[in-house]
Amino acid sequence: MTIEDIREILGAEYVVGEEWKDREVHTACGSDMMSDVLAFMKDQSVLLTGLCNLQVIRTCEMMDIICIVFVRGKLPDEGMIEMAKEKEIAILTSGHRMFSACGMLYEKGLRGGPDYK
């Protein structure tokens, strides 16, 4: 699925990176704890999170995550937007809660990584 597919499924809006909308997303991760995200290494992932600070962008940079969906209508600040542009990370914002947003994407075939070992 592409970033644009995610936007459409969630009825989300672009904050950053509409120009990267055709990039393929292979796996997803939903968490508000960044160390949980950092324990999961997968290519071309999307992160769904309700946490909204600069370390979310940093975490995605380290993980090569290509898209962030902020749930519960969270909006990033200017510093976060600037960093996301620089690191080419698309940002979407959705009014859905975490559980619903994850479920909607799962229903359309997007999957998480393997079990944590």
């Binding site: 704890m33 960044m34 160390s35 324990a39 290494m41 600070n53 370390q55 975490t59 940079e61 510093g79």
Partner: protein, 142 residues
């Protein structure tokens, strides 16, 4: 990649959670430019980032030296923080002594040290209460 050994040194500022990760970001960018394979770059970046965050949360910042040689990437993270009372306990996934305000920032889940071990080939912690902690990590190039 050429055969030279390259050393990169950073000072991690104290109590500046917003800036935490700048050193790791810089190292990641440089390793990419040097042509280090992406999988290895990611391992180094994640391990170093967790360490950098730890220095800000638990200590008063510190220093990080990264040595890149054709065989491996060596990271030495040194702080003059309170030290780790029980290293075995600190290595357990889920164990954390981070304050609650750190958890609301997305860290302090007790996954930092386990993640650092997970993404590196070798990891050693030397810590003395009241003196500080040195974490040495190695990621092999192949």
């Amino acid at each position: 990649m050429n055969n030279d050994t390259i050393v990169m040194s950073y000072v991690v500022p104290a109590d500046d959670f917003t800036r935490a990760g700048e050193a790791s970001s810089n190292v990641k960018g440089k390793l990419k430019k040097m042509g280090v394979p992406p999988e290895i770059v990611r391992k180094v970046a994640i391990a170093m980032y967790e360490g950098e965050i730890n220095m800000v949360i638990h200590a008063t910042g510190g220093t990080i030296d990264v040595t890149v040689s054709p065989e491996e990437i060596l990271m030495v993270l040194k702080d003059q923080g309170p030290g780790i009372e029980n290293i075995d306990l600190a290595m357990q996934a889920g164990y954390s002594t981070a304050p609650d305000n750190i958890r609301s920032l997305g860290f302090g889940a007790g996954m930092g040290l386990p993640n650092m071990k997970r993404y590196t080939d070798e990891m050693e912690i030397e810590s003395k209460l009241g003196v500080g902690t040195t974490v040495t990590m190695k990621v092999k190039m192949v």
